[in-house]
């Protein structure tokens, strides 16, 4: 049962509700970093990693610090009369957590693995303002996912993003050679391609799980 629901969540996030093609999250890096295959793979890996980590951390923050439930740490530590409802702080709390998390990940990678830092490093600062990261954290809360489900959702949303990014980079490398009207070159034709790919991904919405 548990495993089945995890499987459904991951297929849902990778294909049916793909972050790029159906939820429109993370469009800026999608258009910005999809010019070359190598950098697309690097960016995809960095986003997937941070998304999984952010899902984990923000879920813990929300359920142990902000939500008005028995497990709230403020309620326990300060022996309040009732659990405090701090859910209105979630946007501010999440964005700060994500920003510091990205900074922290950057420092750890820089210290432990210079080779990895060289390939991922330049993408990490860009990730803070990537709406896909904050988006997946908020979606986990809105959907009332359990802890493991949130992690799986974060991981599969990242994989879905990477698939979209790598496919696009492959196509755009070929597009460089195509004879396109001058006004449509660059970003406009990339969006048209994304539209055609989104039509293909629309087919997954018929999938009954």
């Amino acid at each position: 049962m548990e495993l089945k629901s995890l499987f459904i969540i991951s297929i849902g996030s990778i294909f049916i509700n793909n972050f790029i093609f159906s939820r429109f999250l993370g469009i800026c890096p999608y258009i910005g970093v999809s010019k070359q295959l190598d950098s697309a793979v690097g960016m995809g890996a960095a986003v997937t990693f941070v998304m999984t980590l952010a899902s984990t951390v923000t879920w813990l923050i929300y359920n142990y610090l902000l939500a008005p439930i028995e497990a709230n740490l403020f309620y326990k530590l300060f022996s309040l009369k009732q659990p405090p409802d701090l859910t209105f702080l979630k946007t501010i709390a999440f964005i700060l957590v994500i920003a510091s998390l990205v900074q922290f990940v950057e420092m750890v990678i820089q210290k432990t693995s210079p080779a990895l830092y060289k390939s991922l490093g330049i993408y990490l600062p860009l990730i803070t303002t990537n709406c896909a990261i904050l988006g997946v954290s908020l979606l986990n809360i809105n959907e009332n996912y359990l802890f493991i489900e949130s992690i799986v959702n974060g991981l599969s949303a990242g994989i879905g993003f990477t698939i979209a990014l790598v496919l696009m980079a492959g196509i755009r490398e070929k597009l460089e050679l195509a004879d396109i009207p001058k006004s449509m070159r660059g970003i406009p034709i990339a969006f048209i391609m994304a539209g055609l790919m989104a039509i293909a991904f629309l087919g997954f919405s018929g999938l009954k799980l």
Binding site: F24, L196, L202
Partner: protein
């Protein structure tokens, strides 16, 4: 004279969406109807104007090294305000915009203006800059909203416009329609720019 320029540059000449290709996620996601586009545009304009004013006021007291976190906290505060007020006063609109209301925090236009303009300029000019950029963003959202709702649903603001014979092109209000529309609209603005340069 230059104050007017600061205001009008955001609307067309440096339009954040069409000329700078910033803040595209909400543009694509909520432009499936004119009403959603207008709501999102006004919410973002409010945040943009307020955060520009506050950031311009505190710009001299903020150490440069931690300016980005400070800006983000200011922006997130206004986003929380608009999020809660929208949920209270316009629950239907709040529901159809979904997570894109809290996601105004990471809209690159707002942080971009804070970094590129409000952190360096006086309050009055920053206010005009924010207002102009906000109106430009709203204009972009509504233009896309008009195209998509008219073709995909045959209506504007939910009012049928094209008569009973019109067969709606459903794909336009589905996700792929957003990509196709923005692609062609950006191409059109490039074409205008190219033609202007040639003359």
């Amino acid at each position: 004279m230059s104050a007017i320029k600061e205001f009008t540059k955001g609307i067309y000449k440096e339009n954040p969406v069409f000329k700078q290709a910033l803040g595209l996620c909400p543009v694509l996601a909520v432009s499936n109807s004119v009403e959603n586009g207008l709501g999102m545009g006004l919410a973002a304009t409010f945040v943009l104007v307020c955060s520009n004013i506050i950031i311009s006021l505190i710009r001299k007291g903020v150490p440069p090294k931690i300016r980005i976190p400070v800006y983000i906290v200011v922006i997130a505060t206004f986003v929380t305000m608009i999020d809660l007020s929208m949920a209270g006063f316009f629950p239907a609109l709040h529901k159809s915009l979904g997570i894109f209301v809290p996601l105004i925090v990471v809209n690159c236009i707002i942080l971009g203006r804070a970094e590129a303009y409000a952190g360096k300029n006086k309050v009055g000019l920053s206010f005009l800059d924010g207002l102009g950029m906000g109106i430009g963003f709203t204009f972009a959202l509504m233009l896309l909203g008009v195209i998509r709702e008219l073709l995909g649903n045959g209506s504007l603001f939910g009012v049928p416009m094209l008569g009973a014979h019109f067969e709606p092109v459903l794909i336009m209000i589905l996700p792929p329609g957003a990509f196709l529309t923005i692609g062609f609209v950006l191409g059109f603005f490039n074409w205008l720019e190219n033609r202007r340069q040639r003359n």
